[in-house]
Subunit: 140 residues, 2 copies
DNA sequence: TTGCTCCTCACGTCACGTGAGGTGGC
DNA sequence: TTGCTCCTCACGTCACGTGAGGTGGC
């Protein structure tokens, strides 16, 4: 019998992740009537591996749920899958750019601070290091 | 008198952000006894601009709160500020690397899918596009 | 009276992780 | 009896955004 832990092992995820997927309806195991234990099948192993694979390609759990719904209704999820990854590629590119800009800001700040002493707050200043980076910022 | 909206304008943040900072104690305005309106001061304008600046350098609100506490107790927050940015630089580098790897996975997948047809689910397969990327994944 | 701004809850976001408190199986 | 695993809540995470429902100021 495939329990939570055994399923988790077979798909290389944590048991808590499995419980989470059950909670949100991505997996719908039957229950052992005697003790309410979840009973998974080989189909669940395949579904869980699919979840893991889809996540590694940037799909959210809500999107994966949508894919499952398509497939269960006998409709091809492929067009939607292509559409979603296209968006995610654009979104992620933007995010990587922003985090790259953040990285540059942080590294430049740390470098400039190397030549500056620590200061004691004096009512006019909270932390002169951070304040000295003023007018250099863009949105966080 | 500086109200929520006026303060928000002066520091170029949203009124909701101001309310959030009050909720978590980063700003502690007095209240107009007649109507409970928040009354901010020029010091709050400086504090809010500091928050914005610190956020743009990667500091979290919890860390900014810590910096304020140091400063209010007359202790220099600078050593902590240097320490935190060092960590954040390392964390962010890792994150950028991971998102870069995700970007590569997504782009390669989309490229390979260009030559593949959409499929209809057949019980053995949920979405062959995603499944075809199997054994290529690393952790998400 | 009409707008505009103000107020306080309180929930939603994303994908789990982490107790708390209790029970089945070898 | 001892471990180990199982169960179900329900909260915490991060920084707000978004209603809902109601009130003050020009």
């Amino acid at each position: 019998m495939i329990t939570v832990k055994r399923l988790a092992e077979r798909a290389e995820v944590t048991p808590d992740a499995v419980r989470h997927y059950v909670r949100i309806g991505l997996l719908t195991p039957e229950r052992d009537p005697r003790n309410r234990y979840k009973r998974f099948t080989d189909t669940d192993v395949r579904r869980l591996r699919f979840i893991r694979q889809a996540k590694s390609l940037g799909y959210t759990l809500a999107e994966i749920a949508e894919i499952f719904t398509h497939a269960e209704r006998g409709r091809s999820p492929c067009p939607r899958v292509r559409e979603l990854i296209g968006r995610r590629i654009a979104e992620n590119r933007k995010l990587v750019d922003e985090l790259g800009a953040l990285q540059t800001r942080m590294e430049k700040a740390l470098d400039r601070w190397k030549d500056m002493p620590d200061g004691v707050p004096d009512g006019d200043s909270i932390c002169h290091l951070i304040e000295s980076e003023g007018n250099r910022y863009s949105a966080a």
